[in-house]
């Protein structure tokens, strides 16, 4: 009986499995395919970035960077005002989003586990807040644009302006700042907090003098990520910033960022060479931002290793 059974199993075994040599050949095939996929990804990057940098690089010169666009549908002139507007908008957006996002994260991480939080109301609020952050992170940018358009541009009558655009942009980057700050806070060892509290510091003293400084590199990473988001974002600002090519003189003025300018150049004027030039400037900015983030995170992991 047992013998019969085992011979059946061996039979099934030989029928179903290929021998080791074939298996290795199969593996070789699939591994080469995976290598190919990795290679394709790098090639796509080189193709897109290379093309934009090489083609766009031809259009980039000192004159392009320092003269304002001529406006109209000519596509003539440079990009100086759009560079300035991009910086204004990044500054204003982060000025609004950073304090909000960092404080929200501090509350969600540092206070959510408190003993005094036995109140059911507070617990529910924290759960809903976490869910809301996740929801915000998944909402497409054009929805933020619609929201900014109806609330800031028309209902509150801020018009197409830096103010409307930066408020809508702040909603867009808020989840990024909250999530990265949360991660940074979670990475601060609990011993730091206990040590400070044991010395008689209040919770806020502990947070402001011990925990936040320790979490600072992570928080800064979140802020830089958001800078990148604002520089690349177009849809939100397309419907809230108005698109004037002039330099805004107040936060109630309309303007256009580099990314928006690229869009107008490509779609309205068909000045593809200048659009590529603007694209090259954008790509260089994003590249630098990625570089800085990588440097910070490398420093961070090196620091962690040292502590251990």
């Amino acid at each position: 009986m047992i013998g019969e059974r085992s011979s059946e199993i061996t039979l099934a075994h030989t029928a179903k499995t290929r021998n080791l040599k074939t298996e290795h050949r199969v593996q070789k095939f699939w591994f080469s395919l995976m290598w190919l996929f990795g290679l394709i990804t790098v090639l796509i990057l080189i193709l897109v970035i290379g093309y934009v940098l090489v083609q766009g690089g031809k259009a980039v010169n000192w004159e392009l960077l320092t003269t304002p666009p001529k406006g109209g549908l000519s596509g003539e002139g440079g990009i100086s005002t759009t560079i300035a507007t991009t910086f204004y908008l990044v500054g204003l957006t982060l000025l609004i989003a950073t304090p909000l996002g960092v404080s929200a994260a501090v509350y969600l991480i540092e206070y959510a586990g408190e003993q005094s939080l036995s109140s059911k109301f507070l617990r529910t609020m924290i759960n809903i807040a976490n869910f809301a952050v996740e929801t915000l992170a998944g909402i497409p940018s054009i929805i933020f644009g619609l929201f900014g358009y109806v609330l800031f541009v028309s209902t509150l009558k801020f018009g197409f302006s830096l103010l409307s655009a930066s408020l809508a942009g702040a909603c867009l980057v808020l989840p990024t700042i909250i999530r990265t700050t949360e991660e940074a806070l979670l990475a601060v060892p609990d011993d730091y907090r206990r040590g400070s509290l044991a010395l008689g510091a209040t919770k806020w003293q502990t947070l402001s003098r011990i925990v936040l400084p320790a979490a600072m590199p992570g928080i800064i990473t979140g802020i830089i990520l958001s800078v990148g988001r604002v520089i690349s974002e177009t849809a939100v600002f397309y419907v809230t910033l108005g698109g004037s090519y002039r330099l805004p003189t107040s936060i109630m003025d309309s303007g256009r960022t580099l990314a928006l300018h690229l869009y107008y150049l490509a779609m309205d004027t068909r000045a593809f060479d200048k659009a590529m030039g603007t694209g090259a400037v954008l790509v260089v900015m994003i590249f630098l931002i990625n570089l800085v983030i990588n440097l910070i995170s490398r420093k961070l992991t090196a620091g962690v290793r040292k502590v251990r």
């Binding site: 199969v26 807040a129 497409p140 644009g145 808020l174 849809a235 990314a259």
Partner: protein, 301 residues
């Protein structure tokens, strides 16, 4: 109570208020977009909007079915091309690539994620559209589903690849060791042990990629052609479906909102509500898959 204790209490209140802000924003977004769309649902009718494909604001015809089909088709095309590439890339990074190669491919994926969507759009406009235009099919303009699917596939690649890589890395090391010790090859281990174990995370990655694809706006406007027509094959060959022009839900909003007034504007907000609902369903299902799986694997332990 000493001064510093008062400060401590005050700070707590301020921080709590900030934590609540994100709830308020979500509610405000939902409230305002829905409120602005109400007139459209009431005056045009839900079925008229969702199931009619004629969009002529001048004649008060507001059917968004063609845009829904456009969004879904371009997303489908992007998934078809982007998912195999992204998953291959994720498996490569997590299981196969030597450390040196990883340190080139991973930053490349990261950088792809950071490139502004208008740059992808411009690339599509200058390179892909003229290339596709050369295909000798009557009615082919180069703009359309094929160009936009390719652009979108590249744009969702980093999202899917990085989330799927995390999911694969999260599979415990002893699963792999157990399989290898039983004599399985590395590839058998990957396909029969690692990928099934990381399945839920990988599926969630794909779903989040779909969400990202449905939400993309500017790059789509630049290469899809934007004509409000129901996408259909240009000739008897069904493959020419992808050469058809189309318009996405997102593009419809962005292109027209700045000059729309009255019922037209309401109809655009209604388009936003449909998009919002689609994305919420998609993200909720990704979330459900992840938490559901966590629970069942906790039970298994």
């Amino acid at each position: 109570m000493s001064g510093r204790m008062i400060v401590d209490k005050a700070v707590k209140v301020v921080l709590f208020a900030s934590a609540i802000i994100s709830i308020l924003i979500v509610l405000a977004i939902g409230f305002f977009i829905f409120r602005e769309s109400l007139d459209a649902w009431a005056k045009i009718g839900i079925s008229e909007m969702l199931f009619k494909s004629v969009w002529r604001p001048g004649q008060d015809q507001y059917g968004i079915l063609a845009m829904i089909v456009g969004s879904v088709s371009v997303t489908f095309g992007a998934i078809l091309m982007g998912v195999p590439l992204a998953l291959g890339c994720a498996i490569f990074l997590a299981e196969i690539a030597p450390a040196g190669v990883q340190s080139i491919v991973r930053p490349a994926v990261q950088l792809l994620a950071g490139i502004p969507s208008v740059v992808y759009g411009l690339f599509g406009l200058v390179i892909l559209v003229p290339m596709i235009r050369k295909l000798n099919v009557p009615g082919n303009s180069g703009f359309g589903l094929l160009a936009s699917s390719i652009v979108l596939a590249v744009m969702i690649l980093p999202t899917i690849a990085s989330i799927a890589e995390d999911a694969i890395r999260a599979v415990p090391e002893n699963y792999r060791q157990g399989s290898l010790a039983l004599g399985a090859t590395k590839w058998q281990t990957i396909t029969k042990v690692v990928l099934p174990a990381g399945k839920s995370g990988i599926i969630a990655a794909i779903i989040l990629g779909i969400g990202r694809a449905l939400g993309e706006t500017m790059a789509m406007i630049m290469v899809i052609g934007n004509s409000v027509i129901m996408p259909k094959p240009l000739t008897a060959n069904p493959l020419t479906f992808f050469l058809s022009q189309a318009r996405t839900l997102t593009g419809n909003i962005a292109v027209e909102i700045n000059y729309a007034t009255g019922l037209h504007a309401n109809a655009l907000f209604a388009t936003g509500v449909v998009l919002f609902a689609l994305i919420m369903i998609i993200n909720a299902s990704a979330r459900w898959i992840i938490t559901h799986d966590q629970r069942s694997s906790e039970k298994a332990r």
